[in-house]
Subunit: 356 residues, 2 copies
Amino acid sequence: MEVENSNDSYFKSYEDLQIHKLMLSDEPRNSAYHEAIFNNKTSIEGKVVLDVGAGTGILSVFCAKAGAKTVYAVEASETYKLAADIVKENQMENIIQVIHSRIEDLTSAQIPGKVDIIVSEWMGFYLLHEGMLDSVIIARDRFLKPNGLIFPEAATIYATPCSIPSIYKYWENVHGVRMESFSRLLREEAYKKPLTEKIPPECLISEPEVATWIDLREVTSDDLNEIKLRHVAVSNKVGTYEGICLWFTCTFPFPRGPSNTEPVSLSTEPDEPETHWKQTLIVLPNSMNVEVGSPICYDLTIKRSTDSNRRYNIELIMLDPEEVQHPEFCRCFMTKCILVNAMLEKYARGEGDGAE
Amino acid sequence: MEVENSNDSYFKSYEDLQIHKLMLSDEPRNSAYHEAIFNNKTSIEGKVVLDVGAGTGILSVFCAKAGAKTVYAVEASETYKLAADIVKENQMENIIQVIHSRIEDLTSAQIPGKVDIIVSEWMGFYLLHEGMLDSVIIARDRFLKPNGLIFPEAATIYATPCSIPSIYKYWENVHGVRMESFSRLLREEAYKKPLTEKIPPECLISEPEVATWIDLREVTSDDLNEIKLRHVAVSNKVGTYEGICLWFTCTFPFPRGPSNTEPVSLSTEPDEPETHWKQTLIVLPNSMNVEVGSPICYDLTIKRSTDSNRRYNIELIMLDPEEVQHPEFCRCFMTKCILVNAMLEKYARGEGDGAE
């Protein structure tokens, strides 16, 4: 079958095409943006929208269908041609202007005045890695009206200790065969770079902790250079602690006007439907058995790479629970926390008695 | 975390390691071999086994556990080291000999005498592509006793016309957005090489046809140079004909002795649990609407590549149903088949009347 190949002019590689296929087939992602944009119809109707990193242009078409007056679909890669085709296919040429440019290079001739709304699907693995939040920040600072809306408006990274059966437990007994020699190799690979994998929710062994919360209306690029979390987690089951599971959620603006709906959230949490981001796993060199109440203490640093602005490195340092200060009301089984909790409870009871 | 990297000595690349992970995590594959080997315990106990392309050695350990006296685990790649580690880990060094060699280069010093059983997981995509059946044939001809067993013993390739929503239907309406411009690119890519994808069973639009049945006890390498199928399929639903879906099944030897079990089968059919082989899709340049009874005629040729013995090319030629001879009892809606069927039925009724 001889067919003229025009892919080369749209995508740098076969992989590029497959990545767009993966993203556009990600139902939780598509649904969240679609729902968020249509729930906010009142805020979008008649307004000017800037789509940062428009890709194939799907979000721009959502906004045009939701009633936007003008949508600037800005895309730096050759994919802009495809966005232009899709805009035509949906007969939105009068509303959507596809602009082939980096955000940094946009001129006021291309975007005259300020925009009311920014939409962008900029999220990378564990939110930041290979994402493009910096471009959204630049777009916001240069082009968004004061009090303009950003879709999404906020993002949160969560962390929690977990077990990782795909590189540990599974290999202890593969139909009766011990394959520790193989899983050791998998773990060695995993130390080099975080795993992107769907982790079953039952593998989480503690309550999630917020590593960072990002308000897109205010965050600066400098804020994104380094994210640090010290977490004193408490195991809530008998299990094996094998690494840290990271994921993120994004929340969209609160719908204005008569509709009484909640803001839409896009969650990549383990117990939510799988997205192409899956979860990110930072693997420990050795697994540790934990009981209900075992304290698990670590410092997690997510740090911008010096090689590339869009890449991040993760550092995980295990801490000695004896040497770390535990939070108030820590529910771990260490004597100091049991004593503090007993005192706090006694105090609470005393207060209660006194009030009667 | 600094960890000595020993993967390099076992695998050529990170991808190699991931491929082994994928295969060893393929439950239907593992289960079929495990079940087939243990159902045939009576035939394996005290016998000599040759594992062709042993990889990580899992099948060799299965055979040793099922009572084999000696297992030769022959692996040409550096993965043989890992097989040796896994053999040790399972304390099978006295039974399993890991041999680092290509099958072609094996000497009678390495394999003295003949073996009773050959096991091998040699199957590639749509059975043959990047598989290693030729090595199994060489091993059989050189080392297997007359009437020795081969696991698996037979294999079948099936073909059936299907629709392929992942590159057609899905893109007509992605949350209200037409993305035909994108799906056109996906289809252009798909013409270049067959897709490996899980196809939902409801996408098959006709009964499966056997493209070839291979008896591993008798097949020769020459038999595998070219497989040709002419198929006059009849659509069993109103739908869209967008390509040909290929898959395979393998069957294992019939258990001997007192056990009264059926031979085990490993199936990669669309309605069976997903394997890492998934299904293979040959995509048409254009889709065709079909009705119940529409004849779909094609010639399919699976031909060994001249570049590499282990690679195959697929040629799909659409045929005009008017010009192709339909099989007896063809259930398509064409006048000639309706007439023939009516005559055959009349004849059958006549016979029935006469017999009463």
